[in-house]
Symmetry: D3
Subunit: 132 residues, 6 copies
């Protein structure tokens, strides 16, 4: 299996509801450094996992929709705790949609799996990996 | 598959027996920076892989039993080379026991896999991953 | 010159006022991974720059006052853009006050300089360094 | 599954052919920081994944054949774009050959999988993982 | 003293002349991960060391002039070994010129020192620091 | 001022005497990842801070004298707490001696300052910097 990873980041405010979250029930925020990893068994006709330029610009576009926002105010997340693991899956789904829409190029239609990891500090991260 | 990782560290002395270990047969030591990664297919009722606070305190408790010790003097390791890969599995087993004992909370009973990685320098690490 | 560094982190929400800040004028947030570096020409009577245990617990206490908060709501910062460089100086001043109050131990009274660096992503950080 | 990783690096020049590569069609170069990860279900008779000393010297020997070279001039790569993903597989195959030749020791014959990751910057890496 | 750092990278080919360089006399290449650090005693009118957006785009522009090139073919470097330390100073001088030209904004005219660090692998880096 | 850094590591056992050290009074150990930074105002005749090959082999030789040892048994450290800050200075002095002995080459006689940083975990490091 081949993998290719690109990294970027976004910065948001949010709060959580539920006693399990302790002080994180208060409005706070996070920088998420994001690793998007694309996987496939065989390379495309150009000998690539994916065009790394398109992978980077697509990841940046997906993160721009979240960047510098208070996620508590975003209607798409109403009633949802925007935990790191939830956001990893959200970004995964948007990258998979981009692959299917051809935004990562025709070669990218051969991608088989995507992993999205959100590093929230030097000691904690969460990820979601699934099939395209 | 969702994953969530917490990081901590411990510092021990030990020595190895066997020619394959070369100068590491002498009493020496190591800092191990430990990544404990918890995995499951679906999130718990709180929308989490595991309560990250409990994950962190449980990892710290497991490492405290080893921290600032000479592993050559610990009776539980008598006759055992405490290699990085062996210690990764030891910590894995103790985390799995903690999950089963409910020390990571009821939601954590849905955890399916755990990975424990011990970074012993900027160029070497070992890990063990298995089912809960 | 000897230096000793301890690392911790905190997570906050805030917004900025002024066109120079662009989209960061919206309420957003950040994880700051904080390096607190203590410096002196000569070691203390115990052969230390500072008791690393006290250094770590003092840094954690200073960061706890900021952690999981919306800085826009904190009266101490009213009318102030809480930029990374401003927060680096704020934490510097609180650590210097702790040194003077003896919270880092008697040996720490010999500390001469402190550097506080706030890493806000994998590509950006800011710091403040000054005399005790 | 146990894993053990050793890290080293090499520095090469090369160019790519094909419009998808944009400015990388010009002769340029890269530092590749290489992680070679060896995996197996059970440890060998010495309680190891692999002799870490032999793993490190074998990785260094494999990288030395590429180090400080212009890959465009190497006949083994004629007509081949030496992308990061291609080089990851090339190094994987050479490590697998070394395992089969006994260069990592008799215990290493029990290795089941190898992963080779090439970090080309702070934001991009590619890897290949396969069976021995 | 306040500091603010932005990070980016570039990838080049080059060779060195002189026996001291050993195998690096052959045409090879490198990825340089670049940290540009801006320093001043007091913040500007916006409470900043420098507009981080302009700092990042200026650094990227400076690196674009070098990126994906064979430095042996660049007439500005004729007869010059483009060592990591030399390149650090070259980028330093171009950033200082940008500051003086106002490309980092009016506030940046108060910058006092700049440090440029080029990381060439996980084990080596070089830097140049000087006054603006 | 130009700087050039090389990184290596060593692994030792030791214990500390004094209540301030708490559980670290027990025999334990550490991996120290070591950054040796060489500084000078002007480059040597080859356009270098120092021959990076000689810098790396000299650092490795200095660390080999400590590597895989129990520092409590080394007569040179009798009655001395081998704290991270003390070890940073010890390695600094040995590197300065090597410079003066010509082991880093004739060009290295122009070196003006050396910094030695010992990273003992992902959250703590200590350093010593002084003139040659």
């Amino acid at each position: 299996m081949y993998s290719l990873n690109v990294r970027d980041h976004f910065m948001i405010a949010h709060s959580f509801r539920g006693e399990v979250f302790g002080p994180a029930q208060r409005l706070h925020g996070a920088t998420y450094v994001v690793d998007a990893t694309f996987r496939r068994e065989d390379l495309d006709a150009d000998g690539l996992v994916v065009d790394i330029g398109l992978a980077g610009t697509t990841l940046k576009a997906v993160l721009e929709d979240l960047n510098f926002r208070n996620l508590d105010d975003e209607t798409e997340f109403t009633g949802q705790n925007t935990t790191t693991e939830f956001l990893a899956r959200t970004i995964f789904e948007r990258l998979v949609a981009a692959i299917r829409d051809g935004r990562l190029g025709d070669g990218a239609r051969g991608l088989q799996r995507v992993n999205v990891t959100l590093h929230e500090s030097h000691v904690a991260w969460a990820s979601f990996e699934g099939s395209v």
